[in-house]
Assembly symmetry: C2
Homo-oligomer: 353 residues x 2
């Protein structure tokens, strides 16, 4: 087992990476605990709901899907909780993929002005990304995750065993976020992903546990340094600037989040060659491509993607920020990048996609 401490002004807690961790929920409930509400989807519940056998609980089914990640669904879940007798001593367990972690976490953040949440991510992407760090939220028509809260959980229980039931495409989408962790902060992790690709894709337990633990350690370190994304935390957005634009441009239906990030990392890597004199661009690009394929990029306009960047949530006073590698394991945040260079970088990847 590996356990990583997350220390933020709001709360200090552990992210635990361990086979069987989903059965440890009772250990992390508060002493004076009221009703427990599992927020989940029917699919996840059918596969893993037995983790709740020993816990008196209510189940709130989230319909699932990016298009349902809206504040109206959070409101509907809150009404269901009330009807089932929820009060300020109730606890939410967000039990599912990233959408459930974000939406269930936000529900807990605003229900009666905040009740505790335990994050139990059941996809690789959620395990290494959404579930650690306290970001919660829902989408607006205007864009993704534009309403939300920072609401740190009581604990994050990450169980690699649940990944056995994950479709291959979703598993690989999660791997892209782990590649991201390597590029931004851990050259050893990056090399491991490069050299042991066969074992990683075959889901060999030892290496799966190792790369998840590495990614969670990195996320825990970064979040402990900067809960609210004023500084260091921004490095986690490597690949996300263009990635978000790609997701929005394709109505969140054509690419998984991790796949869009893979595309965004490739574009940022091309841009870094020009802006930060990155020498390792070919290595980064090769590893991302080797973990593919990502779905076809056919028909997507580079100009449309570039135009979307200005409306990204990370844009501050009109200035687009890019997280760009300087070498493998190190990145820098650059603003005021020339529009033509951004466009060329996107075109370079679209052309090769």
């Amino acid at each position: 087992m590996a356990s990583f401490r997350v220390q933020t002004p709001q709360r200090t807690y552990d992210a635990i990476v361990e086979r069987g961790a989903i059965r440890r929920i009772p250990e992390f409930l508060p002493q004076k605990c009221g009703k427990v509400f599992a927020v989940t989807t029917k699919d996840v519940w059918n596969l893993h709901g037995s983790a709740f056998t020993q816990i008196p609980h209510n189940v709130i089914f989230f319909p699932g899907g990016e298009s349902r990640k809206r504040i109206s669904e959070v409101e509907a879940m809150a009404e269901q909780m009330l009807a089932a007798g929820a009060d300020r001593s109730s606890v939410v367990v967000a039990f599912g993929g990233g959408i459930v972690n974000d939406t269930g976490g936000f529900l807990a953040a605003i229900f009666m002005r905040g009740i505790p949440v335990i994050q139990v991510p059941t996809t690789l992407l959620a395990q290494v990304d959404a579930a650690v760090g306290g970001k919660t939220g829902v989408n607006l028509v205007s864009g993704k995750n534009l309403l939300g809260s920072f609401h740190q959980p009581l604990a994050v229980l990450i169980d690699p065993d649940v990944l056995k039931t994950l479709p291959d495409r979703e598993y690989r989408a999660g791997l892209y976020e782990i590649i991201k962790c390597g590029v931004i902060r851990d050259a050893n992790l990056f090399r491991l992903l490069d050299e042991d690709i066969a074992s990683v894709l075959a889901q060999e337990p030892a290496i799966v546990d190792r790369i998840i633990a590495d990614a969670v350690r990195i996320k825990a370190e970064v979040v402990s340094n900067d809960e609210r994304e004023g500084g260091l935390r921004r490095i986690l957005n490597f690949g996300h600037t263009v990635g978000h634009a790609l997701e929005a441009e394709t109505q969140y239906s054509r690419f998984l989040h991790g796949e869009a990030v893979a595309f965004g990392m490739r574009a940022a890597t091309v841009l870094a060659e020009r802006v930060t004199d990155l020498k390792d661009a070919a290595d980064i690009d090769r590893v991302i491509v080797n973990y593919g394929p990502i779905p076809s990029l056919k028909g997507i306009s580079a100009k449309n993607l570039a135009a979307r960047l200005v409306s990204d949530k990370k844009t501050i006073q009109g200035n687009v920020h890019f997280v760009l590698p300087t070498k493998i394991g190190e990145v820098t945040v650059v603003s005021g990048v020339d529009y033509a260079q951004v466009l060329e970088s996107i075109e370079a990847v679209l052309g090769g996609g």
Copy 2:
């Protein structure tokens, strides 16, 4: 001018009570300030919008009314902000009565996971209650303020001059919350309200400024001791347990919040005579009644009100909590009060209403 420091784990800020304070907004904007969004109602804007003459700003009109205090309206305002170019450096100025303070504050709390808000309350009730202390939120069908956040403002600007345009009934509704402050924590304030009732009702500036400052001082002290209502802050709920039930029972349309609290304080005072051996019940009741009338209580069922208490937000694991005076200026929080006694207390006030 009077200024009261509010110190909470989240933020330290000042609540300023001063004639002309609504024109001091620019002093409290952050140094790196993006677009300023005034969240207000058309009525308030027509009367006092000139306070923004010197500030580049966008206006978001909230339709107003308790029935519109819903998460769907917050979402609609967020979409309007996005369309007007809002980003993480934007600031909300919640400029209106309690509903605007609660809703505008909540909008700021969740927009892009939190942007700053300045609270500028324009009703007496909001000045002495909603605007100080960081509680924000909206209603569910199941009850009032059931979704929300604690989001402390950059500053609270309380301008007694704006009360000149307030209808008499709304002014008196605010006075009940000031009476509450006297009962729970300040016998001198209570006596002043008792003895100088003519000057208070005539809105003589010296006494109006004095009682608002007293109430804001008390709220600032209490909130600084207990941001999240784990302990001391609960005393602010004197009169609110039964008051909330009355508002819900009458669909939030028959009584102003302060009027419902006045009724709730009367019921709690009767209950305190029985439970905490309060000797000053007659004095408390007289002052509340003298600041009346509150609208007729005809047709309201004591049993229905008592039944609603169990679904109140303050109910924890089925236990209803009452804030009961022990003498003027001191209260205690009591749980496990006998249902029959609660019912009798409500009946006593309904009968006399």
